[in-house]
């Protein structure tokens, strides 16, 4: 992903995680920064890690997925006000992928919201300071809530063999956990909250580590118990997540985009009685129709370095849209990507041209996930 090798300068401001020293011993080679914290990117080869993730099982340090905890009498009111997804029928023990929008109907974040209790929620966030938005809203509305960043560092277990590995450690009960549900499981007499979800389409779990000492033990134990499943350390994989159509806030979408443009239609509940920010704006957008949409792309190149959005053109040099994420896929033997495409070009196999870093190529638009 890097065109050149610039080092990352560490400091307290760019927080390490409880697992940082472990992944450094395991050979992490590249980091990014996410929610003011180090996120591992690769241990050396995105492609090798991609193939391994699709066949075996990986342990990821995704502590960067900070959890904002909102509790108190008005906690539902505050949480619901921030998302266009109707949470009025939500259940304890469930996880809800929920776009957060501002008063203009534009995206603030795309977290998973976990309902722990009627008056206790955790928002497992992408890369923006949702805590500041929540505090501002709570203060302005004089809501009776407590808001804090929970001291939780998440380990993700991802890959088709994650189920076997988790069963070996936590017993049969964990295999009964349904997709986007969470529950509590013991590891050596310490209870951990575990959800069945994760930022890949290969299946797996997230362990929300509150008790750090036990979490570190557990991290190590995954590698001991996982030998028979060919377990390896890993990280959210750019190739896999683009192919799977898992969107990344800050890359594929930001505060200039609305959730319809990002294909979040099923999480936008305008016809319920629920009140949330931007509802009127989103109604207007729905009635007028969107002008552009996130789509997949395949490009006839064998390498790409994308550090900002890049314009796509048609044969007549009209603007087709903007490429926002891209990487070479060893599966498709092309560059694959996610792009914001102008409405009239949002069709399968629509051709386009791109010029980047002095190279030109052609590509085709496709749906998400890529097939």
């Amino acid at each position: 992903m890097d065109n050149k090798n610039f080092s990352i300068s560490k400091s307290r401001r760019v927080r390490s995680t409880p697992f940082t020293s472990r992944i450094e011993k395991q050979g992490i080679s590249s980091y990014s920064v996410y929610n003011h914290m180090l996120i591992p990117v690769t241990f050396g080869s995105l492609e090798k890690e991609y193939f391994h993730l699709k066949e075996h099982v990986q342990v990821w340090d995704v502590s960067v997925q900070r959890q904002i905890e909102i509790s108190g009498n008005d906690s539902f009111k505050l949480v619901q006000s921030m998302t266009c997804r109707d949470l009025s029928e939500s259940k304890i023990g469930r996880c809800y992928y929920s776009p957060l929008v501002d008063d203009k109907g534009n995206l603030i974040n795309d977290p998973v919201i976990l309902k722990l209790d009627e008056n206790k929620w955790r928002i497992s966030i992408a890369d923006s300071d949702v805590i500041l938005f929540a505090k501002g809203l709570a203060i302005g509305n004089e809501f009776d809530v407590k808001i804090k960043e929970a001291k939780i560092d998440t380990i993700a277990i991802q890959g088709p063999k994650s189920f076997k590995l988790m069963e070996k450690i936590f017993g049969k009960k964990i295999t009964e956990l349904k997709f986007f549900q969470f529950d509590y499981f013991d590891f050596k007499e310490t209870k951990h909250m575990i959800g069945r979800l994760g930022w890949s389409k290969q299946g797996g779990y997230e362990i929300y580590v509150e008790k750090t000492d036990s979490g570190l033990d557990l991290y190590d134990y995954f590698f001991e118990a996982g030998k028979e499943f060919n377990v390896k350390p890993g990280a959210p994989n750019l190739i896999e997540r683009i192919e799977s159509g898992l969107l990344s806030y800050g890359n594929d979408m930001d505060n200039k985009d609305n959730p319809y443009e990002c294909g979040f239609d099923k999480y936008i509940n305008l016809d319920s009685n629920t009140n949330f920010l931007g509802k009127e704006s989103l109604k207007k957008i729905r009635s007028q129709g969107i002008k552009r949409k996130l789509m997949g792309v395949k490009i006839d190149m064998n390498q790409i370095d994308l550090t900002k959005e890049e314009k796509l053109h048609d044969k007549e040099n009209n603007e087709v849209g903007f490429l926002r994420s891209a990487v070479f896929s060893p599966n498709f033997k092309k560059v694959v990507g996610i792009a914001m495409i102008n409405k009239k070009y949002c069709k399968e196999s629509q051709e386009f041209k791109i010029s980047i870093n002095g190279k030109s190529a052609t590509g085709k638009i496709c749906s998400l996930p890529l097939v």
Copy 2:
């Protein structure tokens, strides 16, 4: 500053600046991430850059210092509500270093606020999403304001020869600009807003580039015009800023600290009629007195890698405080740092012990800036 050489993974989410390609040609070797954007850290030697900064003049890409623009009828009300500094007598054309606090009186950010007009302000922020806090407050309070991240990328000119260099380019008038004031100056017929301030104590200016093309021209021209002043590309320098006592949000202080603990007493105006968040909390803190305070430290080591806060102890192993920033100073021939020190130890020459990365050393507490 890095203990090992991990590379930084670039993407759209970690934004480049208009000057990134230039500083890469000029030999930048290390980045951090700040406000979701690349911040240059060093071109190879912090120490060489430190000595150069104190004698000559440097050009810094500090685009990461994003500016949140707040305009509209209630803009003063919103801006004032976020800071404990009384801005009721503030003047157009002036810059105000202003701690932002939440309803608990804890720090959200420590920006410079620029007053452009009675109803137009820019908040030049440290590393947290102040825009989300402002939006939340504005929505909750139904304030009549517009809030946006301005499309401004800042170049800083820092060092004792910055005055000569700026005069050569912008004429005599710029030397009349007083500290923490800004005005508008022409470069080749394009107007740029320029303030006399910056994140070093060596003197200098910040150019708030709105017109990118002219800004790029200007960036290049600084190196042409600056040859006679031995101009070099640079970056905020960890050694210089610690010695000068310039605090860094996220490193030296965060949302668990209050402004009294950070020595911001003169920016906390509790006795005016001005209303702002956390006023009652800060009154309580003032009457009770603080339990700890940021102080300088000097440690008998010749190298340090600080990636999280490290506990300091006295001879009897009592907790003295926490070291939050540190670097070797070629001036003091010791490690210098900034630490949050428990009240009873807040005295000049107080001794302490530290153990870090398997090494132990002793140090002494001192005031800020370091002398």
